[in-house]
């Protein structure tokens, strides 16, 4: 037997070379919504091959003793700008908007695996993310893609997995906005029966200056194929969205939904999952007057699937703090963990991701304390069974300025 026991402190700096890894004695939150329990996780290659107690291992298995520390699936951000925005205020570093394309705007080819936001969020426990176009004045912004945050130049991602849009207060009337959105869905429907070129010649398509990419994307939204994330807040707008979902058989996900508690019964009946920022209780517009810190609890109690976003650019890992606050205000702990992992994978069809279950890719985080406490931090992050380096530009700067050598900082490296 040549099992090696490694302390987590050492792990941060070395690569695991064994064929398989046993994470032993962790308090495992599988992400499925089940209560956490002390158990072991066996990883072979990229995949979780077993979970349980007293797992049988062979001689070439590296054993990581976790001593009861919390273990969760790698967190998945359902709505981010990771890899497509470097600095918000610098247009030349942004790839999240298009002048020409609308519903068909795909950010996939803009993804930069070397963006500094990737190691930063990864070192904070986010192992993959959906990046999406940013809001525009048009009701549909375009298509988001899912990316594995291992920083590899061989980008692993799933292209154009969801449509993103918004209804609510706008420059004109929200009624006009809703009407345009519905007309776009009708165009999508029609494009199933006629060539895209003919759809483009229709009066509305022409008036809105739609391109063929826009029409092709719209066709995927109607009749439930492509997940469609629609941001909206006002109670009555949520009802409008539910009506559209039924009429056009949409695979709808609602985002923000700050006034959802006012229409909770209808939302529950619709079975639509939601993405919320649980810390945003500001009545920031006349669409969000019902905003409160109890949103997560009310949705969770109604059995609605809840996922998490954050308003803070670049710090998508702060969904942990958000979900922690949701729990402080009454959401169930395991729903909160699920909301950052399996719920996202399920909703967006991310295959074999998002939970610690046999057969899934081993995207796993071992935490130094309760992951919903914002003061906690990962001790070990695995993506596809590979130990990730937790170094970030931020940690390099910290190292440099903690170094008290008497020389210019530019020589401290």
């Amino acid at each position: 037997m040549k099992n090696f026991l490694l302390s987590l402190f050492i792990l941060a700096s070395i690569q695991i070379v064994a064929d398989s890894i046993l994470i032993k004695g962790g308090m495992v939150h599988t992400g499925t919504g089940e209560r956490a329990q002390l158990q072991d996780i066996l990883i072979t290659g990229k995949v979780i091959t077993d979970i349980g107690n007293n797992l049988v291992i062979d001689g070439n298995t590296q054993v990581i003793e976790v001593n009861g520390l919390p273990v969760t699936p790698g967190l998945i951000s359902p709505m981010s700008n990771i890899g497509i925005v470097e600095i918000n205020a610098l247009d030349v570093t942004r790839d999240d908007e298009s002048e020409l394309l609308k519903s068909g705007f795909s950010i996939f080819n803009a993804f930069n695996p070397h963006s500094t936001g990737i190691p930063w969020n990864r070192s904070n426990g986010v192992t993959s993310a959906i990046s999406s176009p940013s809001a525009s004045s048009f009701p549909l912004f375009g298509l988001g893609s899912h990316f594995i945050l291992d920083g590899s130049i061989d980008i692993q991602g799933s292209k154009d997995i969801a449509m993103f849009g918004r209804i609510g207060s706008s420059y004109g009337s929200r009624a006009e906005n809703l009407s345009i959105l519905e007309s776009l869905l009708v165009l999508g429907q029609q494009s199933k029966q006629m060539p895209v070129e003919e759809v483009l010649e229709m009066r509305l398509a022409d008036k809105l200056e739609l391109q063929s990419q826009d029409i092709i994307a719209l066709a995927q939204v109607v009749n439930g194929k492509l997940p469609f994330v629609l941001e909206t807040n006002r109670a009555v707008d949520i009802l409008q969205a539910i009506a559209l979902q039924k009429k056009y058989d949409l695979n709808l996900i609602l985002a923000s939904v700050e006034e959802a508690p006012l229409v909770i019964a209808q939302l529950k009946a619709s079975n639509i999952p939601v993405i919320i920022d649980p810390m945003d209780n500001i009545p920031d517009s006349f669409d969000e007057l019902g905003s409160s810190l109890e949103l997560g609890k009310i949705l969770d109690n109604a059995g609605i699937k809840v996922m998490f976003s954050t308003q803070r650019s670049h710090n998508y890992h702060l969904m942990r703090q958000g979900s922690g606050n949701a729990v402080a205000y009454g959401m169930s702990y395991e729903s909160a963990i699920r909301g950052m992992s399996k719920s996202v994978a399920e909703t967006f069809g991310l295959v074999k991701r998002g939970s610690i279950e046999k057969g899934n890719f081993a995207d796993i985080v071992i935490w130094d304390a309760d992951p919903l406490e914002p003061s906690s931090f990962p001790k070990l992050v695995l993506i596809n069974g590979q130990t990730q380096d937790l170094t970030s530009r931020s940690s390099k700067l910290t190292e440099r300025y903690m170094n008290k050598d008497n020389k210019p900082s530019s020589y401290k490296h």
Partner: protein
């Protein structure tokens, strides 16, 4: 043009100053029926009864923790902290397994000047019509019915400093408030608190005015703009110092403010991200003979931590914000801890919010900053980190003699927390301001509801039940 959301770019809107109640030289001239201290505080504490907190765990806001102690407050003041205190016939609150801290103080808020809902008609924080607007006072923009005050109170915030935004080189005066909504601004103002003057370095002023093809459009233009204004202020001050009142120059609101800084009565609150810019601001303060109280945002403060400690300048920072602009690119989570620990722990670190959500959770922000510091190798206790959101911001606002710590004689601004305030699961149960209960999590009658919140969704109910 890309859309830059105000949420991801709050700093575009920001920066302010403090308001000085004292006009210095102006006072001596004001004997012709004019009011001397215009716009001074008319704040009166709410009625209160003495309260004895029994068996509390206490962070005193000065770095100490006291386990299983009693705390007595009466007549709006902190009376005594000790073991087995007793006072017959007064209200006793069982605080066992709970924590008490000083009221939380935010040194950087725009509540009231950027009220909710954030609509153009409530956008009152930046007089972005000229790079030097030292004549405006943030308090003159405050909307007393901003629903954000009550939300901050639920997060334990008892005092906050409202600043103008950062569009201008000199944004105007800031003022400190007690967190009790009243129908006049003066009735909310913190008594005897100094004004501040908001200054702004870097990207914001040069962008705002550069886009209009006027100065400043560069960082060197920023510096020239500040220095020209200080030269005028020195000239004005010399005129006002003339013993013959007939030789005094005509009163000028902007120069009154700058003169107040030169006389040490108005505190400089300086929005500044980059290390070399902070160092330049320090050099300029020496050129003209004034003191900088606090650098705000200070994302790169850790690069010049010893300099800030040597100069006795506080840095008010976020725990982890970054990336929204170029000057916020070099974020380290240990920033706050590095400032705190500079020069053998003599640095002055503050956790600020500059944000209507963040102000509700300053305890959590301090918790993140503390744990990041400890991961970087420091040994910072919770009791010590509590200073970052209590006594240090009180010092920076010039109100430490009145609040910011649990010490006999200070204002009884205290928070009773359901558990340890460094945990995400802990909530403020009761908040006292000047000894009066201002918020009680279990009593809807002691939860403030602004006029805005009343009947706005349904006429029969308040905005959020």
């Amino acid at each position: 043009m890309k859309n830059i959301s105000l949420i991801s770019l709050p700093l575009l809107l920001i920066i302010s100053c403090s308001d000085g109640l004292n006009f210095g030289k102006m006072d001596s001239k004001s004997n012709d029926g004019r009011k001397e201290n215009a716009f001074e505080s008319t704040y009166m504490p709410m009625d209160s009864q003495p309260v004895l907190f029994r068996s509390a765990n206490i962070y005193d806001g000065l770095g100490q923790e006291f386990l299983n102690y009693d705390l007595l407050i009466a007549d709006g003041k902190i009376i005594e902290m000790g073991s087995s205190l007793s006072q017959p016939g007064i209200e006793v609150i069982d605080a066992s397994n709970k924590w008490i801290t000083p009221g939380i103080i935010d040194i950087h808020s725009h509540m009231g000047v950027y009220s909710a809902p954030s609509v153009t008609t409530s956008s009152d924080g930046n007089e972005a019509t000229a790079p030097v607007t030292a004549e405006v006072w943030a308090e003159h923009s405050v909307w007393t019915q901003d629903p954000q005050f009550a939300l901050a109170l639920k997060g334990g915030v008892t005092s906050f400093h409202v600043l103008p935004g950062s569009a201008n080189l000199f944004g105007g005066r800031g003022a400190t408030f007690k967190n009790i909504s009243q129908n006049t601004i003066q009735a909310m103002k913190f008594p005897n608190a100094p004004h501040s003057l908001k200054m702004a370095c870097g990207e914001n002023p040069k962008r705002v005015y550069g886009n209009r093809r006027q100065s400043p459009s560069t960082r060197m233009g920023n510096m020239a703009g500040y220095r020209s204004a200080w030269i005028d202020a020195i000239d004005y001050k010399e005129g006002m110092d003339e013993s013959d009142a007939d030789k005094h120059p005509k009163r000028d609101l902007a120069l009154d403010t700058l003169m107040g800084v030169l006389e040490g009565e108005i505190l400089i609150q300086n929005h500044c991200y980059r290390a070399e810019e902070m160092a330049m601001m320090i050099e300029m303060s020496k050129e003209f003979g004034y003191k900088i109280t606090t650098f705000h945002h200070a994302v790169e403060a850790y690069k010049i931590a010893d300099l800030l400690a040597d100069e006795g300048i506080c840095a008010a920072m976020w725990a982890d914000w970054w990336g929204f602009k170029h000057e916020a690119y070099d974020m380290v989570q240990a920033n706050i801890a590095i400032i705190d620990q500079a020069r053998n722990g003599t640095g002055c670190a503050i956790v600020h919010s500059d944000d209507e959500v963040g102000i509700q959770h300053l305890n959590q922000e301090a918790s993140k900053a503390m744990s990041a510091g400890n991961r970087a190798g420091f040994k910072i206790s919770k009791a010590h980190a509590m200073r970052w959101i209590t006594s240090n911001p009180a010092k920076a606002a010039g109100i430490l003699d009145q609040t910011g710590s649990i010490e006999p004689g200070k204002d009884a601004d205290v928070v009773l927390w359901s558990g340890n305030p460094f945990s995400v699961y802990t909530r403020a149960e009761k908040v006292f301001i000047d000894g009066a209960i201002a918020f009680d999590i279990y009593d809807p009658k002691i939860q403030p509801v602004t006029d805005f919140d009343l009947g706005i969704i349904k006429p029969q109910t308040i905005r959020v039940q």
